[in-house]
């Protein structure tokens, strides 16, 4: 009798626990410690802003969005565990992911679990392929960005002796390969190629070799905190070459950590508020909302997370509820205008959002549009 009562009680508890979570669960995975911290902060802020606006306006299809944020410590192995936590938490969709090595690892989990994953912070071309049926990526890939910066280096920037400093992770190596191949097509070979680890602090041995090669341009395919350290140390050693790079440099903390050394750096970025009025308006709102705390606002990273959630994911959730397959198909068929992107944005058949990369230059204390004159 006691056992019967106990099992009935357990069943009742279980049943009661079920419908209580009628909210939509949106998972965010990013590096909030380790080398990706500066980027993870922006991603989280973008998510918080978008979800707050959506929930204040009534949610998606009447349901509020429950935001679940996990930190993967910018480490691929931990990223897999973090993603597994999101899956076992029962998230309906994941929007986030920073770091090509982490995303390449953690997307296996979401693919196996059949959860749509909109990636906002990893640029390795292998992430969006035909066989990744549940994954989408909204930022431009290295195969486009590295090619773009190579063309800008040779064309408008008129560089002839280009050295390459790349991180030895998937992001750095992927960029280097595309960049060097693009240079070759333009008839140039890099004068020196050196690699480093994301967590390295001292770059003297690599910079010594680069200085010996006398470059007029140095491509840095890395992220914070390595990139600003490289720039500072390079200038300390008397290297005057201009720096170029791709998305890894697109973080305001680059300028904070290397205020003098980063001046004049030209890079392809994910978001430039000067592109259109909507972008500027959003950036101002965002900075106002997130200023004044210990975590400074990071518009570049937040912009994609915000746009992905507000304009791509939320409408699909509103229309299709939590049916993952329907949400995925809805995302795949997305066509619309996103601020700071000219024209209409849509995903190609590998799940990659098609768009033109934006070039910016570090001038003063911000990224400004780069005029290729």
């Amino acid at each position: 009798m006691k056992q019967l009562l106990a099992s009935v009680a357990a069943l009742v508890l279980l049943a009661a626990a079920g419908p209580a979570s009628a909210e939509v669960k949106l998972g965010v995975i990013a590096g909030l410690s380790g080398v990706g911290t500066s980027y993870g902060i922006g991603i989280r802020q973008g998510a918080e802003m978008a979800v707050k606006e959506i929930n204040d306006a009534g949610g998606v299809g009447g349901q509020k969005i429950d935001l679940v944020v996990v930190d993967d410590a910018s480490n691929p192995a931990q990223s897999v565990t973090a993603m597994q936590r999101l899956v076992s938490d029962g998230v309906d969709i994941v929007v986030g992911g920073w770091g090509s090595s982490q995303v390449l690892a953690n997307m296996e989990v979401s693919e196996r679990a059949g959860i749509p994953y909109v990636i906002v912070g990893a640029t390795n071309p292998n992430i969006t392929t035909e066989k990744n049926r549940w994954s989408f990526r909204v930022i431009q890939t290295d195969s486009v960005m590295a090619k773009q910066i190579a063309e800008s280096a040779v064309g408008p920037l008129k560089m002839k002796r280009i050295a390459v400093m790349n991180d030895s992770n998937d992001y750095g190596v992927g960029n280097r390969e595309v960049f060097v191949a693009a240079l070759k097509k333009l008839g140039l070979e890099p004068v020196e190629v050196q690699s480093f680890q994301s967590s390295d602090k001292d770059f003297t041995s690599q910079l010594a070799r680069i200085r010996a090669a006398n470059p007029d341009g140095i491509a840095i395919f890395g992220t914070i905190p390595a990139a600003p350290a490289i720039m500072n140390q390079a200038r300390d050693f008397g290297i005057k070459a201009r720096f170029i790079g791709t998305g890894g440099l697109a973080n305001e903390n680059l300028i904070t950590l290397a205020p003098k050394a980063s001046q004049g750096t030209v890079l392809t970025t994910y978001f430039d508020e000067d592109v259109d009025a909507d972008a500027k308006a959003w950036a101002e709102r965002y900075v106002k909302e997130f200023s004044g705390g210990a975590q400074t606002p990071r518009p570049v990273l937040a912009a994609w997370e915000y746009r992905a959630i507000k304009f791509i994911v939320a409408p699909c959730l509103a229309k299709n509820g939590v049916d993952k397959a329907k949400v995925r198909d809805c995302i795949a068929g997305f066509k619309g205008k996103l601020f700071a992107l000219p024209g209409e944005a849509k995903f190609d058949k590998t799940g990659q959002l098609e768009q033109e990369p934006v070039l910016v230059e570090v001038r003063g204390d911000a990224f400004r549009g780069f005029k290729a004159n």
Binding site: S205, P225, A229, D236, L257
Partner: protein
Amino acid sequence: MLAQILVGGVATGCIYAIVGLGFTLVYRSMRMVNFAQGQIFMAGTFLGLVIADHFKLPAVPLILVVGAAAFVIGLIVEKLIFRRLYHNHEVFVVGSIGLGIVLTNAIRIFFPEPVPFPKVFGTGIVTFGGAFFQISYVWVVGLTVLLVLGLHVLFAYTKIGRGLRAVAADTEMAGAVGVDVRKSIAQTFGLSFAVAAIAGVLIGPLYFVSFDMGDMIGLKAFSAAVFGGINSIPGTIMGGVIIGLLENLAGGYVSSSYKDLVAFVILLLTLLVRPNGLLGSETPVKV
């Protein structure tokens, strides 16, 4: 390039040596390892950052102020926390790991991202035998030498130092001959905190500081202490410098991916082959 690598190796090695000293000092008195040393070092850097930012102190006063503040904090932490953990080595170790985690996350609340440290040692670049390095490196090496000399004088010639050595050698007897054992232990902790914090101020201007910078350095400093002999001060210094040099050589000539491996391979080999370290000595137990 060799000169560059050697200079970098000596400087990094000195940092491992100084942080390793923290381990050694505590181990000598307590026969226990305080695994929060790396995080204390990191907290010391942030203490230095806050003081330097608010009071704009130049190098030498900054180091003295941070060292003194850390000493006092060490006394307080010993009284509040470590004193309750002495009775059992395992409890002490786990408790110290916990302290490390608390420190890391406390700092993280205020400093979630890497931040630059003011260049209190100036921005000059020194050339020496083909190597270029920031003037901070000279301070690091110089201060390591001063610190070692200072500690030597403390332990060999002052009453307090002799008391600390007595407590380290035989706590009961030291108490029996009148040494205030409680105070000595507290002072040892204070000293280990001060030493780690000073290392933090030295390394601050060289690289950016972040809340997770203490983890790796703490582990490598531990390897340095074990390698050199965890109950020997000169041993720890030597261990630190050797690991720093080998690490940089491996990074320069083999691959920068394997740099971190060096310290841990050395730790493993030491524990397997010569657990007392290079200059450490087995403490004889009289039966």
